[in-house]
């Protein structure tokens, strides 16, 4: 789905680019295509993914004359050999493998070819779909090149089966079950029929060939065209899942028609303009970006290069800009689509129109001279007295040899856009400040606009600024460039741009500050003056600083518009941000260490006092039980309490509450049990003492 959307997008892109340019610039295939082919067809470790893609890459390199790296043979030949040697019966795989092999020339023995040939002949016998016929016949054609006898068993029957799938409008169906017919399938069918005819061991009936020629003519009736004389084929119904796009469809038809024209003994009745239109379509794409598109373009052009219907001759201009200053010559190239030499011919410039007066030609019927060293047709433009500007040139090709008229397609009138540029003279420039009342006029200063000036003018809101100059072309006519702007820029970078009008052979502007006061936002101060004059046909377009003007404007009223805020550099948001100063709570003042240690010692003093007091009181351990078991319990009780206190110290130092509580739980249970035993023993001992 994504691939078809890509094709649709590609189609839209072609339409958009052609509609913008009007007539697309058409150049024959050149080195740009060769380097693009090397960039687009990039093998991964020498292999191209599938044999179909490998064939596309290799065929493109072969046509363009690009050296292929030996890695490709190393990586692809084993795959080819494996496919041809395997016992599988998929005609598509065999077809692609044979195609690749015909370019790479891998080492395959004739036994393998004979096996494959017999398999393909079996496919043809049972086939009922167009693609099966196509693969089988194509494969047999490649095998025939190796000298193996691959005569078709039933030529007439095969021819008839393929022909049966055709429709009345020249299209073909893929097989007898499908209802939709397709132009792409027509191309495949014609190629297959041409293959059948060349594989036939005896002559095919001429009437059959005549019927197919008739179909081809009907197919060409459905050709479509863009605005600029390019012709292409496209499907009638755009089915989103199978849509192949105009490039692929036209390539398929061109392949089929040229293949069939090779085997048809007579001439196909196709007007040469249509072949030329197709060639222009393929060339107007420029350099496609995807492998399939580049392959389709190059292969179709290669088919058109030497076809038997009519070979298109492309007229193109190596450069579209001619300069009067450097006395350029108008140069025109006529070649075939792949850039090979054309037969002897003459190019004549039929008419030339200026872009602003499309009806009256400024020049008619000039013949171009031929430079055989560089194979370029040229014409000197200086003697033609053409002024600077944009022109539409119409050329016509006439072949020297009358026999070539049927072989080559020259097209009628080819029109090309061109620019003639020159150096524009700017003179009689004057600038000055006027008062409003015409009686009191200041003198105008002369200005030299070939370099920056440093004028220093001053005006108030009651005065006017006057600037005028003449622009003359090299031939002495008044020139109206595309851009004539006067810019006033305030010190605060607020800019105002004024367009200068042309009248009576001069360019003039009068800035009446009284009327402009609001537009300038009442900003007084120093304004820089800049003059810009530019045009595509002007070689010396310029932007000159003229100096500055001090404007004295009144105070803005309450409701006047403020000057617009200046644009902030959009990249400034990516710069570093303001540093954040965090305010931390100031640390508490801690006491000095010695003081704390002194009080620590002081805290232990009462404990010492307690111990001394205990001793003074005569504390003894006489009540400690003497017999073993109670003694043990008492010891355990005291040990348990000591353990609990130790646990608390550990808790303070590093344990957490949960661990402590867990341990304390166990310890507590233990203490309760032990303590109960000890204390009850002690109580009973005391009771015994009391009673006794």
């Amino acid at each position: 789905m994504a691939r078809n959307l890509r094709h649709l997008g590609f189609l839209a892109l072609i339409c958009a680019s052609l509609s913008i340019s009007g007539a697309a610039v058409i150049r024959p295939i050149n080195d740009a295509h060769r380097s693009a082919a090397l960039e687009i067809f990039v093998p991964t470790d020498g292999s191209f993914g599938s044999l179909e893609e490998a064939y596309e890459a290799l065929r493109t390199f072969q046509i363009l004359g690009v050296e292929k790296s030996p890695e490709i043979s190393h990586a692809t030949c084993p795959v080819v050999v494996e496919k041809l040697g395997s016992s599988s019966f998929i005609p598509k795989d065999l077809f692609h493998a044979l195609r690749v092999n015909s370019i790479l020339g891998c080492q395959i023995d004739s036994r393998t070819f004979e096996d494959v040939a017999s398999k393909l002949q079996a496919v043809i016998k049972d086939a009922n779909s167009l693609l099966d016929f196509h693969y089988a016949v194509g494969g047999l054609l490649h095998i025939k090149d190796y000298g193996i006898n691959v005569a078709l068993l039933d030529t007439d029957g095969t021819f008839h089966s393929i022909k049966a799938l055709s429709q009345s409008d020249g299209r073909w169906r893929y097989d007898s079950n499908s209802a939709e017919s397709s132009t792409y399938a027509a191309g495949i069918a014609l190629e297959t029929l041409a293959g059948v005819v060349s594989l036939a061991d005896k002559e095919v009936d001429q009437s059959k060939i005549g019927i197919v020629e008739h179909d081809i003519v009907k197919l060409f009736d459905s050709i479509k065209s863009y605005d600029d004389d390019t012709l292409y084929f496209d499907e009638k119904h755009i089915d989103a899942s199978e849509y192949k796009g105009p490039l692929t469809t036209s390539a398929s038809v061109v392949r089929g028609v040229t293949a069939f024209a090779e085997v048809a003994s007579g001439r196909l009745n196709i007007p040469s303009d249509k072949m030329l239109g197709l060639a222009k379509f393929f060339l107007s794409i420029g350099i496609p970006g995807s492998t399939k598109d580049l392959f389709n373009q190059i292969e179709s052009l290669s088919c058109l290069e030497n076809n038997r219907v009519s070979i298109p001759l492309i007229l193109s201009l190596p450069s579209m800009v001619f300069s009067l200053t450097t006395r350029d010559q108008l140069k025109v190239e006529v070649t075939t689509v792949l850039g090979s030499a054309a037969p002897p011919l003459t190019v004549s410039l039929v008419q030339a129109f200026r872009s602003d007066s499309k009806d009256t030609p400024v020049m008619e019927n000039q013949e171009l001279q031929f430079d055989s060293e560089n194979t370029i047709h040229y014409l000197d433009i200086i003697p033609l007295k053409l002024d600077v500007g944009k022109y539409k040139l119409m050329f016509e090709i006439s072949l020297h040899d009358p026999e070539n008229i049927n072989t080559y397609a020259t097209g009628g009138h080819t029109s090309v856009m061109a620019f003639i540029t020159g150096s524009i003279k700017i003179d009689k420039a004057e600038i000055g400040i006027f008062d409003s009342d015409p009686g009191n006029s200041e003198t105008l200063q002369k200005l030299d606009l070939s370099r920056d000036s440093t004028l220093s003018l001053a005006a108030n809101h009651l005065q006017k600024l006057h600037l005028s100059f003449h622009l003359t072309t090299p031939l002495g006519h008044h020139f109206k460039p595309h851009q004539v702007f006067l810019k006033l820029r305030h010190e605060t970078n607020v800019e105002h741009i004024f367009v200068m009008e042309s009248s009576a052979r001069q360019f003039k502007i009068v800035l009446d500050f009284l009327g402009l006061v609001e537009k300038i936002y009442y900003l007084s101060g120093k304004y820089e003056i800049e003059l810009t004059v530019g045009d595509a046909a002007m070689e010396n377009s310029f932007l000159q600083a003229l100096g500055h003007i001090e404007l004295d404007l009144p105070e803005p009223p309450e409701k006047a518009a403020r000057p617009p805020p200046l644009p902030v550099d959009p990249y400034s948001r990516f710069g570093p941000k303001q540093e954040i100063a965090h305010i931390f709570r100031s640390a508490e003042r801690r006491p000095p260490k010695e003081l704390s240690l002194a009080f620590l010692a002081l805290t232990f003093l009462p404990f010492v006092g307690f111990l001394i007091g205990l001793m003074r009181l005569g504390v003894n351990l006489k009540s400690f039980p003497s017999s073993a078991v109670p003694a043990a319990f008492s010891t355990l009780f005291h040990a348990g309490i000591a353990a609990a206190l130790l646990l608390y110290v550990l808790f303070w130092l590093k344990l957490d509450l949960f661990t402590t509580l867990k341990v304390l739980g166990f310890l507590g249970v233990f203490l309760v049990f032990v303590g109960h035993r000890t204390l009850s023993h002690h109580a009973s001992a005391t009771a015994k003492l009391k009673s006794s």
Binding site: P606, F610, F651, L679
Partner: protein
């Protein structure tokens, strides 16, 4: 007059001293313990007075540990004292066991709060 006041005070102290000497030893031990705990608390308060109460939780836990254990000791003394008719039937071991248990709980809390 002052002389009689001071000699009265001396007689008072002497009579208290004699009366106190008659108390049983175990109660004297408990009294000594209470005095020890309170003195420790006072030392901590003096320290806080000098350096300020910055880790206030530590101060509180220290002081409350001393005061709490003193209070528990006072309760023990009340319950153990044989002249106290209210707690005649309570065996002193039981009182002691309560004292130990309550101290353990108090000190768990104090240790948690010590920080």
């Amino acid at each position: 007059m002052a002389k009689s006041t001071s000699s009265d005070a001396q007689m008072l102290v002497r009579s208290l001293h004699t009366a106190y000497a008659a108390t049983p030893t175990n109660l004297k031990i408990i009294d000594l313990y209470v005095v020890y705990a309170i003195v420790t608390a006072v030392i901590q308060v003096v320290y806080m007075g000098i350096v300020g109460s910055f880790p206030f939780n530590s101060f509180l836990s220290g002081v409350l540990s001393c005061v709490g254990t003193a209070v528990l000791a006072v309760c023990l003394r009340i319950q153990v004292n044989k002249e106290n008719k209210e707690f005649k039937d309570l065996p002193p071991e039981r009182a002691y066991a309560d004292f130990v248990l309550c101290n353990l709980v108090l000190h768990l809390v104090v240790m948690n709060f010590l920080g």
